[in-house]
Symmetry: C2
Subunit: 341 residues, 2 copies
Amino acid sequence: MDSINIKKLAEALNLSTSTISRAFRDNSDINAATKTLILEKAKELNYQPNHYASNLREQKSKTIAVIVPELANNYFSQAIHGIERVARENGYHILIYVTDDDYSKEVNFINHLHNGRADGIIMSVSGEANDHNYLNKFGANRLPLVFFDRVYEDIETPRIITNDYKSSFLATEHLIEQGCKRISYLVVNKSLSIGKTRMQGYIDALAKHNLPFEEQLIVDCSNSYEENSVIIKNALTQLKPDGFFASVERLAFATYYACYNLNISIPEDLKIISFSSLEIAPLLNPSLTTITQPATEIGTEAAKMLFKILDANGLKNLPSEVVLESKIIMRNSTSNSPEKP
Amino acid sequence: MDSINIKKLAEALNLSTSTISRAFRDNSDINAATKTLILEKAKELNYQPNHYASNLREQKSKTIAVIVPELANNYFSQAIHGIERVARENGYHILIYVTDDDYSKEVNFINHLHNGRADGIIMSVSGEANDHNYLNKFGANRLPLVFFDRVYEDIETPRIITNDYKSSFLATEHLIEQGCKRISYLVVNKSLSIGKTRMQGYIDALAKHNLPFEEQLIVDCSNSYEENSVIIKNALTQLKPDGFFASVERLAFATYYACYNLNISIPEDLKIISFSSLEIAPLLNPSLTTITQPATEIGTEAAKMLFKILDANGLKNLPSEVVLESKIIMRNSTSNSPEKP
DNA sequence: TTGTACGCGTTATCAC
DNA sequence: GTGATAACGCGTACAA
């Protein structure tokens, strides 16, 4: 491996390594002429300062890590896209870690990242049912951390979230206004904060409209497509709901399949509204009424927040929470007079 | 910053840094007892070897970079998911770069990556219309590189692709068999290899079935949703095709919207088949007939290929091309007797 | 404005 | 089996 380094470049130009180094930083004084000379030669020889050496020297990595539960989900892809853009604009790179909703992977990732590999972490969490204390053991050495969407309530760190309670309330109210009397709430894990918050909106909307709340109408689903299929079919046949409020888009899709299967027609027999970032929700059969979160913007804001923390460098009068607005977009899956769009 | 390092850990245990270091590698000889002692203390003090120092020392980063044109696309999300899994299993991390189909960004990313930040690159290219020579200037120092899906034909490096020609041929034939006489081919950039290959399949299938090939039936679209909307509407009204073969899923979606708008009914008036990795294609209205690429598997194979190269360490009798099979899944958008599924 | 010299945290080599 | 030491490539005091 005869790759180029600062020393060789220095020799080639008959200069010292420090001068070369200076040519690549903005702060140091250096003769403009020598600087251009160096940069030219560097380009010619394809030299770039070694990232790891710089990092070691400067004790920072210009890298942020992004941890998400899954990737095959429009919401997270869009969020990452937002993060990537902001990161790049700031000269940062992003590392991606997928937990597959596995708490132990999350813990592993976080632990490993504390070896200097990243300057900060943006995470949507996976282990709400578990112990979050692993995040505290780093003490003051914990990397700057920003939560988005799925958060640990008991961990003190900035978070970017959406107004889930209000959206859920309005979503449920929308179903009620469309005539639903027996609305079921589909959730992946109702003990998770996000599932809980959304459920509370649902419960309160029922109460406001004097509809009884039945425990059994809370349908707790899993992460497995097959299991959900069974669970949802059972819910449909046994509970006989006339409305579904899905807390996650995946559950709406599973419901569509189940309804096709059971010959239940949406929206005549069952109306459904779902949290979803799917851009082609209008193309579904029937088009799906969604609560759409500003996914890209959430990513953007999360990244901006992280950079604020990194810039602040200890000063801690930062906003601890940013709440963005989701939008309810009404379509045929909750319509009373569905027509082809 | 009083973070822990190997020296402090050594002091805390009254050992030398070398011994500590040994405890963390698998190869070196070390007393089992001291090793467990060290690992325990390390855990207690939350010590991990600094990644950048190790990298500097070992001249490798245990990191691979993934460059994709876009992220808000099921295909690439799934591919990245596959890559991430394999990388993690090999103890590697992945950096993500999104070019937004901008050639200059791609060049920038590649250049920057050659500073030691990554050990290898997996890329789906963005700049086919441009000069690919920038990849050659690194000479023997070029990082190991694997292309997937979108490749530069003139760059010699392993690639993971799908049998696009055959799929396209079969897709077109399928439309013909369903009774289409006037099939239009929707492409984003017909000069790109992927657009070209798919087009050739289309052309040859027409020929086989004695259908005339008309230049104007090749509809060249853009990356802008608005522009495509206009282009496709024009194509529908002016060319009056009875079949669409979309080389990219985005164009199929745009067609759906256009047809809703123009009151053209799919599949009665227009049949459509598209390359797409959308998992909920069955839920569209009507359900979309797709050529589905094994996206996750492509990612997996690309990553495996890269690791093979990294392991081979120069030995170059590696397969230069892996071709995976796409599947055509027939649904209602190309059906002659559509019924609700 | 430029050069010298040291150290960032780690690991490989060579002693012991 | 363990310790001392040099080197990885770079950036910055400090000296010139």
